[in-house]
Amino acid sequence: MTAVGEIDSIELVVPLSVASASIVRMTSVAIAAELGFAMDELDDVKLVMQELFALSIAADGHGRMRIEFRGRPGFLEVRGCLEPSPGRASPARIAIAGIDEVTGAILAVAADEVDLAPKSGDTFTMSKQARLHREP
């Protein structure tokens, strides 16, 4: 399989439900594979996206999430935004305080950068660089 070049933007909108988690992680893995990530790095991407999506479900199990993927060979960036659930004017907030040691360790090790709720509390971003594309 030939890796693609730059991915300007791919968007995925899914209900914030347990059933959607496998769709999110499989989509993430497929995009990371296209960007040339190795098998163990794909496992990391899958795990991080599962954890971030699970935190989002915990914030609002009735709304939707818009997930945007960007990348270039060897680099993936993902941004997830909670959308307001029906009857709410604003989206829920991801509860950073609810992150336990296990989840915290996974996010810290398996991704290069994770930023939870950078501004309004309804967004996460994560990025990961493939080993072969790291600076020496």
Partner: protein, 104 residues
């Protein structure tokens, strides 16, 4: 992928469960309920993880909870035949040394 749990009967009443598929947010409640239903007083549990394809933090927390429950009752939880990708999750999360883990 769904989770399949197959129990192996032993004359010494230990509970052995072979799990295959994903142990995650979608399957963890059923996993815990199935194990607990079989424990019925016994505190020795073996989880054969040779078919486990994915483990997330909810699955890890369930294993830690079962481990603690077995210990509280004077027994143990052993997780055997752990494949490399699952072992890596245990290591990343920093819980491998807390559990009795045998590589596959």
């Amino acid at each position: 992928m769904d989770l399949t749990i197959t129990f192996v009967e032993h004359s010494d009443h230990r509970v052995e469960a072979a799990v295959s598929g994903d142990l995650d947010l979608a399957t963890v409640d059923r996993f815990v309920a199935s194990i607990e239903a079989r424990m019925n007083g016994t505190a020795a549990v073996v989880v054969d993880a040779s078919g486990l394809t994915f483990l997330d933090s909810s699955g890890l927390r369930a294993l830690l909870m079962l481990h603690q429950r077995c210990r509280d009752n004077g027994g143990s939880l052993r997780i055997q035949a752990v494949q490399p990708k699952i072992a890596r999750v245990l290591e990343i999360a920093g819980v491998r040394d807390l559990l009795d883990v045998r590589d596959g």
